[in-house]
Symmetry: D3
């Protein structure tokens, strides 16, 4: 606790995801006062045919 979920399009590299969890954990710890070791992060990756904006999926653009 806190529990952080980051939902984004698939395609980021492992290096980007590694940096993402490091930096987001630091940001949450610094601003909420929660110790870093209690902060969990879940990355959820979406494909372009399961995400739509304005009624159109990214895969249909």
């Amino acid at each position: 606790m806190p529990y952080v979920t980051v939902k984004m399009l698939e395609g980021r590299t492992e290096e980007q995801k590694k940096a993402l969890v490091e930096k987001v954990t630091a940001a949450v710890s610094e601003t909420t006062g929660a110790p870093a070791e209690k902060i969990a992060i879940f990355i959820e990756e979406m494909s372009k045919n399961n995400y739509a904006l304005g009624g159109k999926r990214l895969s249909d653009e």
Copy 2:
């Protein structure tokens, strides 16, 4: 905003999912007053071995 998540069993065709996001976006825009281009839709597809009703997974029926 609004953000809509549709969780359903896998197996729908791309044509069905394309129509789904179009019609749902229109329904949300019409009834909430939000402009269509601000409405995001996420489709989450479940497999039958990760969904249970009444204590039994669909894959076990």
Copy 3:
């Protein structure tokens, strides 16, 4: 099933939310083939101090 979650800012009227669930259910049923009586909708309402875009909460604008 399907299960639909609509996350939006608080402030819509009961009439708007009543219409929202009717129209969204019809849209999902028509496009996925699921019978309407199996479609569940959850409305989640956010306050402006718990939602941010571009690093700024709506309540801070």
Copy 4:
């Protein structure tokens, strides 16, 4: 209703997941009074490179 989501690391066997939904459904029914046939369970499985604790993904340990 109720709707239960169990998020866990991938790697459990089908037998474990089958037992999981049986036992959790019974526990929810017994304690809430909801009939078992109304209780839905969703299993969400995470990979080790999409889950972090303390700023480090399990796949990086």
Copy 5:
């Protein structure tokens, strides 16, 4: 980990919710092998005007 979310209508007593988390934690631990102290449970309570089945909110029935 695992992380369990139980979404249900508001109205259960504190005693029911206390028993719910005890029994669900035991069920998850027994079937997945995860130690009980690592299992987190979130209860999310819905009001009848934010939940619909078959296109009709419970508060409109």
Copy 6:
């Protein structure tokens, strides 16, 4: 996109939540390459009687 959800116990101040969304948005933008203005953050606050660890709610400790 990305969409970030931070689930935590209630009790943080408005100043803490304001800083949280600023710092998390910067961390996500820097590491994923997404422009800050496309990043949405949702804060979900739990009460101690709806969160349990090890089968015991925080409100029961």
